[in-house]
Symmetry: C2
Subunit: 345 residues, 2 copies
DNA sequence: TTGAAAGCGATACCAA
DNA sequence: TTGGTATCGCTTTCAA
């Protein structure tokens, strides 16, 4: 036991200080570039830092300063959905450029998972939290209120958020799509999506959609909610199921573009012409839509921008700037060519 | 100044202890379910925990025990690429089920970004690191070696890893694809991909591919590396560029499926028949391939499984189990119908 | 320009 | 079954 060292074999600040022949405090000041030391001292300390390969322990820093960390917890339902992957990318890129780190939470669309993750991530003293959706369990809501840190709810715009919110109004977006399809002359409109234990943005969207369809004189929407992921293949077989149950359906609105593509391919397999035999509308405007021969009717939401906006609100709040409570990021209907054009009906 | 409290207004263990009329240590034992206290004491403490809404500060826990945290740093090049999103999902799900949290790093395919992220994430005393790729900067390599924590390099199998590695041999995978295409009778084979500052798995794959093509009697591969993302639209216009420069190309291998779909659509736009006029092969076997009318020739890699395997190796090592250094996750060529079948040529 | 001491919130260790 | 005390690595505060 030649050298006395701490339990881990990491180099600590006091070791650097000792090597440089100064006090911990002086070394600490140099490392934070706080000023209040001579050039000579600074050079000496920095030399030892390099030499010993010192890496600060930020756990101790946060702990000592009783500050929050530079972590930001980010919860996302799942990454199989390209849309959320894009949102996450927007968030992490922006956060990273401001020196923050993302602690990821995949909630798999359940409030229970979200609640557990919130409890855990809060125990790490994060600087803030970015959560997908506006529906949280009661315990989660309580923890969030007591956390005393900035919180951004994204995706589903919350007009009375816990703290801040950015996204779009899914009810309105669903309503617009419904009105558009009715305006195109469709009357037997179906819906294919997935179902989860709890309400979410898709539920809200569907509600708006149904209201527009029914109010616009369309028949009652034929709905099919699968217990599956909102992906390509479920869109394919979901379409098969819906058409088997309701052969008169003349147009289908899908929970997202991936499902719509699945439906499009099912139609192709069965020799159904789109949009003359059946109309197809998706949601999200995935990148793949741009290269497909037939432009998918969809709803464009600026996903990357949404993520960036969420990160910007977080950073703004953390740096004490005034930040608006709600931000509507907007959506845009892409007419496409997979539904009949209203002027041509 | 009625109550004396800490700088933040969070409830601490000692406040719980005081409220329950016991010492910090007793409260600590109860919270960790360590045993060595009466039922009455336990109930009393837990009641106060609920009442005060106490959340432990894990920073202090890690710090006190001089342990590592439950964080695992995970670096991924980007999330625009579905493949990496799937890998990340596999990792985070598995890690989460063992009580670990993912600290995300998006390196954007650059060693500099990776290095900066490594430095930062190490300062949070992570339990381990999972890194995509096997090429790291010299400083990064040094930090990783000194970190003294488990490290898993994924994606590109590293036969002499820093610590552990899981993935596939991209050279072999590229070679197999090249041999297959040559075996199908193609001789003027092109490649469309993207280029980055540093070598990566795609580079390795291309090298293997070229070797097979050239060794198999194919012409020198016509390569086009775009300075763009490896996505649908670059696949579309990259194909246009490649065919303009080399009109004799009879088959194109793409960096990934997204680019291949872009190429497929370009061919459709130009009235080129696939595979009779031109063969198309992708890489990754994206989910969308399963619903497309024409099965894309591709290479299947079990992405989700890869992520899970990486997380399992990490967890195994953390719990002291013996873990193999290298794990080949395997790949499988999907013949598809976008290249001529070898038996039919 | 520098340093000594106290303390952040928990746990380890030893004593009662 | 309990509790006191030292301690982790760093920063804050106060003094020199």
């Amino acid at each position: 036991m030649a050298e006395k060292t701490n339990k881990t074999n990491k180099v600590s600040l006091s070791q650097v200080a000792k090597a440089a022949g100064v006090s911990k405090m002086t070394a600490s000041r140099v490392l934070r570039a706080e000023g209040g030391y001579s050039d000579k001292t600074r050079d000496l300390v920095m030399q030892k830092v390099d030499q010993l390969g010192y890496l600060p322990n930020r756990l101790a820093t946060v702990f000592a300063g009783d500050q929050t960390s530079t972590f930001v917890g980010v919860s996302i339902p799942d990454l199989g959905n390209e849309v959320f992957a894009q949102v996450l990318e927007g968030i992490d890129r922006k956060l990273g450029s401001f020196g923050h780190q993302t602690v990821l939470g995949l909630t798999q669309h359940t409030q229970k998972e979200e609640e557990d993750w919130i409890r855990t991530v809060l125990s790490w003293q994060p600087a803030g939290l970015i959560l997908t959706g506006r529906f949280h369990s009661a315990r989660a809501t309580e923890m969030l209120r007591n956390a005393g840190i900035p919180i951004v709810e994204i995706w589903d715009l919350n007009s009375s958020p816990l703290d801040m919110s950015v996204g779009i109004n899914h009810f309105d977006a669903g309503f617009d799509m419904g009105r558009y399809l009715v305006g195109c002359g469709y009357r037997q409109i179906g819906y294919v999506g997935t179902s989860h234990d709890t309400a979410n943005a898709a539920t809200t969207r569907l509600a708006g959609f149904c209201k527009a369809v029914e109010g616009g004189g369309g028949g009652v929407t034929k709905q099919l909610c699968l217990h599956d992921t909102a992906a390509y293949y479920p869109g394919f077989y979901g379409t098969e199921q819906l058409l088997a149950a309701h052969p008169d359906v003349d147009c289908i609105f899908y929970q997202n573009d991936a499902m719509a593509f699945g439906g499009l391919q099912f139609a192709a397999t069965k020799g159904l012409k789109v949009p003359s035999d059946i109309g197809v509308a998706g949601w999200g405007d995935l990148p793949i839509a741009a290269v497909m021969p037939q432009r998918l009717t969809s709803m464009h939401v600026p996903h990357l921008k949404l993520g960036q906006a969420a990160a910007e609100m977080m950073i703004g709040r953390l740096s004490g700037e005034p930040v608006p409570t709600c931000r509507d990021i907007g959506f845009k209907l892409i007419p496409g060519s997979t539904v009949r054009h209203p002027d041509l009906r």
